[in-house]
Symmetry: C2
Subunit: 331 residues, 2 copies
DNA sequence: GTCGAAAATGAGAACGTTCTCATTTTCAGC
DNA sequence: GCTGAAAATGAGAACGTTCTCATTTTCGAC
């Protein structure tokens, strides 16, 4: 039903090759031809068919962003919003369109959807299965990992420096005079969870502070859960005076719990979060937190992917963007 | 480089037609053939090429979700997260993949990207340009509008009942005893802005309350901006005791401003928000707000789109999902 | 073992582009 | 007006599937 290049060719009297050129590389076509062709195209309401084009060029100009966070609704995760935004911008700038998916969705009967759909490249965010990645790469589809690290030949990974972020956060609490510092650790991908814990733990070691088991807890990174856990902890006798939380949602829950128990933040209880997500400034007092330059991560991942797509080697395989403590009201 | 259907056919001794069938409709192929074909496919690392398929079927199984909110970063908008999530789920369930884009990105040199890329259908969220929509429809691409309403032949629109939400919010403030109620109105798409204002205004009229110009303000729906505006208003002599805010971000900013000025919420100043977005429960006290069943909106939009794609008429063109006041701590 | 219907397979033309290679046209320089 | 190089155009084979229409095979019933 819609007009094809042949209809246009017939209408304007040029060959389909010339019509094709008029759209794909206008400068190779005489001005006269261009005008006539565009006129016909407009008349016939012709739009080039990118599918047919992709078929012969073997390039779809599409990339996919696949998020998989353990136990966490993918898109809802505010942490990924600015990353996604950056990837989108960077992609658009170079003519790519963006598919998004949450991991569990992708696996169909045979082979991965985005393999079949011939993505030019794929970014895996969060948890990622080694086998899937290898499947993509065996089809020559470039892959970049984001917020996760896997040792695979030539596989670029974009991470934030979670370790030093955690170090900064914990040190900050120490410097504020706290000697007993609890940890509320969300369950994220192994890499992230480990790095943040290690940062925290290394500071405890450095200053000879105790790791107090009952006040170091794993939990789902959700507001209610964090509030519940924190409420319980604060009712224990002899609880810490400060808590390092491995993301802002948890920190927000913790602050809420403290306030509700009539404790003052930061005077009685200090809290530091992680991510500097949009919610960090919504709570009152505003969260002291560790900023991750998410936009930069997104850009980096995208541009690395484009390098691979264009056949350039990634300049670096392990890219770690720095994190930065931002001190606000909760400490 | 990657294996094609022909390679598989050659390897297993069947024709490409049969191999094609083995993947597209396995039940039409003998068990023997299926096994041999799958074995060859596996051996050759064959993955069906959805682009070639799309070309002949004239169906890509892709849909696009295009967000355009005035002055507001698209994906960052927490309002759209659950909607997107629902659209994604619903789409995946039926074998569609999802493109996302922010409006300003889409327009390339000639024709819209997603027309060229042969979307099976498109959802426009927020502000949407009549001309663009007509362009899509002229190419027989089904379109559904979300959170916006345009009178166009056969164009389904999914809206929330912003009007009655605003009515409920304002009435609630009235019933709490407030007689002077300000309005902090974010700049969204015209439809939404108007509907929410009208709901507010109709309640004022109903109870004979004054519309006090200085306390009815338009603003960008951002935290800082809202805090700034609210701080100013609260320093005016004789300010209202309650404010209806047209989204939660604004409400959060308003609450923050009040608290910082040493006012008690809700005793001195009551605030109600809109959307019941994720942040509404993060602030303390938690926001009284108007819940929009965003998931339902997403589902509705997606399913309507699939109906159109499958050639079924939309059952209804104007779909309004109900809103519901949820009373929490700020009133 | 034969018949006939049903099931399974194959041949080959689409689908709408791009791209290579050849051919034609244009045009500057004389 | 001729020459030759450069610019513009055209013919037609790909690209990897699906699908229609034969043709072949299978198999139950007699």
């Amino acid at each position: 039903m819609p007009a094809t290049i042949i209809d246009v060719a017939r209408d304007c009297g040029y060959s389909k090759a010339t019509v094709s050129r008029a759209f794909a590389s206008p400068e190779t076509v005489s001005e006269r031809a261009r005008e006539r062709i565009y006129a016909s195209a407009k008349k016939l309401n012709y739009a080039p068919n990118a599918i047919a084009r992709a078929m012969v060029r073997r390039r779809t100009e599409n990339i996919a962003f696949i998020i998989h966070e353990k136990q966490y609704p993918a898109i809802l995760n505010p942490f990924y919003s600015p990353i996604l935004e950056a990837v989108m911008q960077e992609g658009t700038r170079r003519g790519y369109s963006l598919f998004i998916a949450a991991r569990q969705d992708m696996r169909l009967s045979n082979g991965d959807v985005y393999i079949k759909k011939q993505m030019d490249g794929v970014i895996f965010a969060g948890e990622a299965d080694r086998r899937i990645i290898e499947e993509y790469r065996s089809q020559n589809i470039p892959v970049v990992l984001l917020n996760n690290h896997l040792e695979l030949e030539g596989l670029p990974c974009v991470m934030a420096d979670h370790f030093h972020g955690a170090v900064a956060a914990t040190t900050h609490l120490y410097e504020r005079g706290h000697r007993r510092i609890g940890l509320l650790a969300g369950r994220f991908s192994q890499q992230v969870t480990d790095a943040r814990f290690n940062g925290y733990f290394s500071v405890l070691c450095q200053y000879g502070l105790p790791l107090e088991r009952p006040f170091v807890v794993d939990l789902d990174p959700e507001l209610d859960e964090a509030e519940r856990v924190m409420t319980r902890l604060l009712q224990l006798p002899d609880h810490p005076t400060a808590f390092f939380c491995t993301n802002d949602t948890i920190a927000a829950g913790a602050v809420k719990a403290a306030l509700r128990l009539g404790l003052r933040v930061p005077e009685d209880i200090a809290v530091v979060g992680f991510d500097d997500s949009s919610l960090s400034r919504v709570v009152e007092p505003e969260l002291t937190t560790v900023r991750i330059d998410a936009e930069r991560m997104g850009r980096l991942a995208a541009n690395t992917l484009f390098d691979l797509i264009d056949g350039r080697e990634a300049e670096e395989l392990f890219m770690e963007v720095p994190t930065e403590l931002v001190v606000r009201g909760t400490t």
